[in-house]
């Protein structure tokens, strides 16, 4: 039984330490990917360009724009979850900015 357990679990037990390190790294990569809206902005600009050059029609534009807006909202939500700054929404002058 003991031997069997070892054999069965070996592939899982073995790389645990390594896996944890990798997970941390993945976590960081994933987090960056989840919270970066640069590629979404680029997609939106590219979409507008396609409409301008006549590659897509208006209906197609509207459909794809809706998808892009959903992605924007998702990124905004993740950024909020990670306590990062978000664009849009209510703002006020930061305390430090009001020194004069």
């Amino acid at each position: 039984m003991g031997l069997l357990t070892n054999i069965l679990l070996a592939p899982f037990l073995g790389p645990v330490w390594g896996t944890k390190w990798t997970l941390d790294k993945i976590d960081r990569v994933v987090r960056e990917e989840l919270t970066d809206d640069t590629p979404i902005k680029e997609d939106l600009l590219a979409l507008q360009m396609k409409l301008e050059t006549g590659e897509i029609d208006d209906a197609e534009y509207v459909r794809r724009e809706a998808q892009i807006m959903t992605r924007f909202r998702e990124v905004r939500e993740w950024r909020e979850r990670f306590g990062m700054s978000t664009s849009g929404g209510p703002v006020r002058v930061a305390e430090s900015g009001e020194s004069k």
């Binding site: 924007f72 909202r73 978000t86 929404g89 209510p90 006020r92 009001e98």
Partner: protein, 265 residues
């Protein structure tokens, strides 16, 4: 506010009235710009502090998605204001909770706004995007470049025996010639627009057909000359390039004031 809440708020406007800020102008009396605000076409008016004014409209506290409709509404207000004033555009979606918060912005950034308005006095922006037709440019390169033409002829003549290496060599030469051509066109266009513009800025190109995505800052006095020059250049390159010319815009690409704003919960 989470995105979910913002969606809910959009469906059912919250009673709390915020101020959507479009731009900052120099004006010391109150001014109305009509019912052209973002969202539902609400009244656009000014909130003044000394000789500065923020152009605003009332809005529920929501996050505006950068949809075409919303972005156009934002731009349309700025275009309207621009007919009479030099303006500093605010970034899309900037919402303050109250008039007092808008006044705090004007007060704390008074000097920077004043300086930039001074610099931007009577300046407008034009956008110029240039796309090329790859096939036409390749054809032009083959006409002009002896080495490429010779190599291509050779490969075509000896289709069966021509080596992989020769084809690779041709591909590489064409690629390099295209990059050289793109740089040459862009440099020439910049050179021709130099004396009719105050400044220019190149942005990242969008898609694989674009070779230039630039903004030009132009003095209102030179608007006509700039216009004519762009038209002349587009005629010159008619066979190779497509010009996407837009404006006049507020100086979006030439104003960079880092506002110290924080999220208002």
């Amino acid at each position: 506010m989470t995105a979910a809440e913002s969606a809910a708020a959009a469906a059912e406007p919250s009673p709390v009235e915020g101020k959507y800020v479009y731009c900052i102008i120099r004006n010391d009396r109150s001014k109305e710009f009509g019912e052209i605000g973002i969202g539902s076409g609400s009244r656009v008016y000014t909130v003044s502090f000394k000789d500065l004014a923020a152009v605003v409209s009332d809005t529920p506290i929501v996050i505006y998605d950068p949809t075409r409709e919303n972005v156009l509404a934002h731009e349309f207000v700025n275009e309207t204001v621009m007919r009479e004033f030099t303006l500093i555009p605010m970034s899309f979606g900037t919402v303050f909770r109250s008039e007092n918060d808008v006044l705090a912005l004007l007060r704390s950034t008074y000097q920077a706004f004043t300086d930039v308005l001074e610099k931007m006095q009577d300046k407008i922006e034009f956008g110029l995007k240039i796309l090329w037709d790859r096939d036409k440019v390749v054809a032009a390169i083959e006409r002009e470049n002896d080495e490429i033409r010779r190599l291509k002829d050779e490969i075509t003549r000896n289709a069966a025996s021509s080596t992989y290496f020769a084809r690779m060599q041709l591909g590489r030469l064409v690629e390099a010639a295209m990059e050289e051509a793109s740089n040459r066109y862009v440099a020439d266009i910049h050179e021709q627009l130099k004396d009719v513009s105050v400044a220019s800025r190149s942005n990242k190109v969008i898609g694989d057909r674009m070779i230039l995505n630039a903004a030009f800052l132009v003095d209102r006095r030179d608007e006509k000359s700039f216009d004519e020059r762009v038209k002349a250049i587009s005629l010159q390159y008619e066979d190779l390039l497509t010009f996407k010319y837009t404006g006049p815009w507020p100086p979006y690409n030439f104003v960079n004031i880092k506002l110290k704003l924080e999220k208002a919960i």
